[in-house]
């Protein structure tokens, strides 16, 4: 193995590849692990690294991805590939210019993004969306860790606003080609039709590609929480708020507000709660901040679903609360660390 590594390291010496050392280093890191050792205490370190951390997120997305391919055909794979390639190129370009390592966070963004799109989205729209998301959602802020908004959502929002026609007409039912179909949320909003709950749970409805196989999302989400990859507070408080508010609302205005279970099993709620709202970079880092964040998205989601022209509000509310994240943290910190007199 070490011989292989030594051979690989010869790549650094090739003149032609001089400008691409970032890429070579990244691949070396992936293949051979790293050989740096600790300098001072603690003399040994936890085995987790960002690669594995992000891999856990991707594993959690596997059920949704496989289901999407099963329901909506091989086209899904093409969309994922387009997303990865477009986003990947941009990511690498920025890394080359900055002379920094390529960051792994993109692997998750690049997969989440196609999964929140309707199945018939044209490939060029996928490319435009991810490009916009990566550039304006992440890189311009300085890369992973510094961005304020979830890059996948920035891209999704951008194409929703820029190409509304394409987006709304790209939904379709699983297995049926050529026929567009409205999502269960739209059906409820326009004609008060309730889709049966087992169809919702197992994914035989129209919707964004990754969001329909809800049982898989729940499994993936539980996996994330169990492996400590995400904190439980945001998804639980988000979903809890939706359930609580819609339960009350359903009693008073059943025409406009669907029952809690329907709210839970429609649209991107579960997908958003487990995979997008929980993005650690764009959500508050304080624990009470996470609770407030979850409550906030819950309230906004329901408000948008019920009272706005849009049928779905998950995406908007997460982006909106992303914007409030620094403020929430600031307030929580100033309460937690308020000066107490004669404390010591």
């Amino acid at each position: 193995m070490n011989k292989l590594r030594v051979r690989y390291q010869k790549l650094y010496k090739i003149k032609l590849l001089m400008h691409f050392t970032t890429i070579i280093r990244t691949i070396e890191g992936i293949l051979f692990g790293i050989s740096t050792v600790t300098e001072s205490a603690p003399h040994f370190r936890d085995n987790i690294d960002i690669k594995r951390y992000m891999s856990a997120a991707i594993i959690a997305l596997v059920p949704s991805t496989v289901a999407a391919i099963y329901f909506f055909g091989l086209r899904v794979i093409a969309m994922i590939i387009v997303s990865y390639i477009t986003g990947g190129i941009i990511e690498v370009l920025f890394a080359l210019v900055r002379k920094k390592d390529i960051e792994e966070g993109f692997l998750v963004t690049g997969l989440i993004f196609p999964l929140v799109l309707p199945p018939n989205t044209p490939l060029w729209v996928v490319a435009v969306g991810i490009a916009f998301g990566v550039v304006f959602g992440k890189e311009l802020f300085g890369g992973t860790g510094r961005n304020i908004f979830n890059p996948a959502l920035v891209g999704r929002l951008f194409i929703t606003i820029s190409f509304p026609q394409i987006m709304t007409s790209s939904y379709k039912l699983p297995f049926v080609d050529g026929v567009t179909s409205a999502t269960p949320l739209v059906l409820f909003k326009t004609s008060h039709t309730l889709t049966p709950w087992f169809q919702l749970l197992f994914g035989a409805t129209a919707g964004s590609m990754g969001e329909t196989f809800r049982i898989g999302i729940i499994i993936g989400g539980l996996f994330l929480i169990l492996t400590r990859t995400t904190d439980w507070r945001i998804p639980i408080f988000y979903i809890g708020t939706i359930l609580g508010l819609s339960w009350i609302g359903h009693i008073f205005i059943p025409d406009k507000i669907a029952s809690p279970l329907f709210q839970l099993l429609t649209g991107g709620l579960l997908f958003g709660a487990f995979f997008m709202a929980t993005d650690p970079v764009t959500s508050p880092f304080t624990r009470s901040g996470k609770v407030i964040f979850g409550l906030g998205i819950g309230i906004f989601t329901l408000l948008i679903r019920v009272f706005s022209g849009y049928a779905e509000g998950v995406m908007f509310s997460i982006i909106l609360m992303n914007g409030f994240t620094p403020l929430i943290d600031h307030i929580v910190l100033s309460i937690k660390y308020r000066p107490v007199e004669n404390e010591r």
Binding site: P42, I48, S55
Partner: protein
């Protein structure tokens, strides 16, 4: 008395690692020469009372100074004083005595008269007066152990015997290579331990003794309860054994039910902290008159062929202790006491002093691993639960590899979850990293950090959080901004160099 259970939300329990020391003690040969530092444990440097060329016996006092805060130092071998040298002993400059030994094992007691008697009257320890116990503790050198030494009517501690309010006996086994108390305190040891505590209580009658112990050592807890039944102010605290609960400020905070801060133990509250070996040394010193010339040291970690305990004379070099037990063909890093907070032993020719409990030897992980991040990880420890070893109890492997590239913080929150104090490590570290060092960091309790390094350990982005925090503290102190707690401490104790005295307890505070 058994204290109420307390819930602990932070920390990490390090269990089931390869290279745990076996509970078997072997004697190491008496070395040809020993180097004995004249400052060992708590206290200032002592003054030699021997000369070059003078013959000394093992156990004979070779240096003492009754005018400063210190405890006598003994020769650990029978032999001849060879030389006096200047030694840099882990950052502490001290004089050291080199003694050529004749390699014989016998020793004498520094208590001149027959040790089994009290000034000629044949009596057992139970009838010793507290002066007599204090005298024995001081003359045998045991009084140099613990965070402030053991108070006696000699100048062995800045605290007088009347100042002591709490004695905390730290039996926690939360460090990586700590053996469980059930293994260490078997039959005989347990009764010695109990006698040791009773002796301590006798010289510090007004102090409450707290025994902090892993709540899983039920067996020992029950026995202790039985043995200490009628003692009212000896309290047993069964605690969750999660690192860093075994570090002085944390254990003091938990046991005394105060908000933890590194200054808990500094606030002139009369808190004394001892470990198990100290209590056993008190027993040996007082009952058998045995001077502190020997140490039972654990060799722990995968760097050794056979990790177990060794009985060695003080002043022997690290080289000679680990010699023949080091795995060949590996790069091995030797660390004092703990792989989590201990200091690397750069110079193996340095001698062992009276305070060492463990010499850790772990393998340098300077070779990468093929597709390291994608392996199932049967032997890999992690705070995240993404490795098989989190679910199946295989023995885990440790090396010094970073296991990942340094990346920007992704706010995973692990560091905050494990931190024992009210610091948000990534938040404070980021300010220091960006050089935004100002007194608002004090508001965010930067001085509460006890430097347990657990935040750095768990970070998936491999950020050296605790180093940044330490840097921040140092710059703040340079700027003249200090923690109010530490100021209060030095004023009250009225000690000139309170901090330099505090070498022994693992954490150097405000260096």
């Amino acid at each position: 008395m058994i204290a109420k259970r307390k819930r602990i939300g932070w920390g990490r329990s390090f269990k089931n690692f390869r290279g745990m020391p076996r509970k078997e003690i072997t004697d190491v040969d008496i070395p040809e020469k020993v180097i004995i530092p004249l400052k060992q444990g708590y206290g200032e440097e002592t003054e030699p009372i021997v000369e070059k060329g003078q013959k000394v016996l093992a156990g004979e006092i070779i240096a003492r100074n009754d005018n400063n805060i210190s405890s006598p130092v003994h020769s650990s071998v029978n032999g001849v004083i060879d030389d006096f040298i200047n030694l840099n002993f882990f950052g502490i400059k001290t004089t050291a005595v080199i003694i050529k030994s004749d390699k014989t094992r016998n020793w004498i007691s520094p208590l001149k008269e027959d040790v089994k008697t009290n000034h000629g009257n044949d009596v057992s320890w139970e009838s010793f007066s507290s002066e007599e116990i204090e005298r024995r503790i001081y003359l045998t050198g045991v009084s140099c152990l613990g965070n402030y030494g053991i108070p006696t009517h000699f100048k062995s501690s800045p605290m007088s015997t009347a100042d002591a309010n709490h004695i905390i006996i730290n039996c926690l086994d939360s460090d990586v290579y700590d053996l469980e108390m059930t293994e260490i305190l078997q039959n005989e040891e347990l009764s010695k331990f109990v006698v040791g505590i009773k002796l301590l209580k006798k010289i510090l009658p007004q102090a409450v003794a707290h025994i902090a112990i892993n709540k899983k050592s039920k067996n020992i807890i029950d026995k202790l309860e039985g043995l200490l039944d009628h003692e009212k102010d000896i309290i047993v605290h069964p605690l969750e054994s999660k690192y860093p609960i075994n570090l002085d400020p944390v254990v003091a905070g938990i046991v005394l039910d105060e908000k933890i801060s590194p200054y808990t133990i500094h606030q002139n509250k009369g808190i004394l902290i001892y470990d198990v070996s100290t209590i056993l040394n008190i027993y040996e010193g007082v009952v058998n008159g045995k001077p502190l010339i020997e140490r039972i040291v654990a060799l722990a970690g995968e760097g050794y062929i056979d990790s177990h305990f060794l009985r060695v004379r003080i002043g022997i070099s690290f080289d000679q202790i680990i010699n023949r037990n080091v795995k060949a063909g590996y790069d091995i890093r030797f660390i004092l006491e703990s792989p989590l907070w201990g200091e690397k032993i750069e110079d193996l020719s340095l001698p062992l002093d009276r305070t060492v409990n463990c010499i850790v030897g772990i393998v340098e992980g300077n070779k990468g691993e093929f597709l390291s991040f994608a392996r199932p990880g049967f032997t890999k420890d992690s705070y995240s639960r993404t490795f098989v070893a989190n679910f199946i109890p295989f023995k885990k492997h440790i090396d010094t590899n970073l296991h990942g590239e340094e990346r920007p913080c992704i706010f995973c929150g692990y560091c905050e979850d494990v931190c024992p104090v009210e610091v948000i490590p990534h938040f404070v570290a980021k300010h220091v990293e960006r050089n935004l060092i100002d007194d608002y960091l004090v508001k965010y309790k930067i001085f509460d950090c006890i430097e347990c390094h657990l935040c750095t350990y768990v970070c998936p982005s491999k950020i050296r959080i605790s180093d940044y925090i330490r840097e921040g503290k140092q710059s703040l102190i340079k700027m003249g901004i200090e923690d109010p707690g530490s100021k209060a401490f030095s004023n009250e104790m009225n000690l000139e160099n309170a901090d330099s005295l505090n070498k022994n307890n693992g954490e150097t505070i405000n260096e």
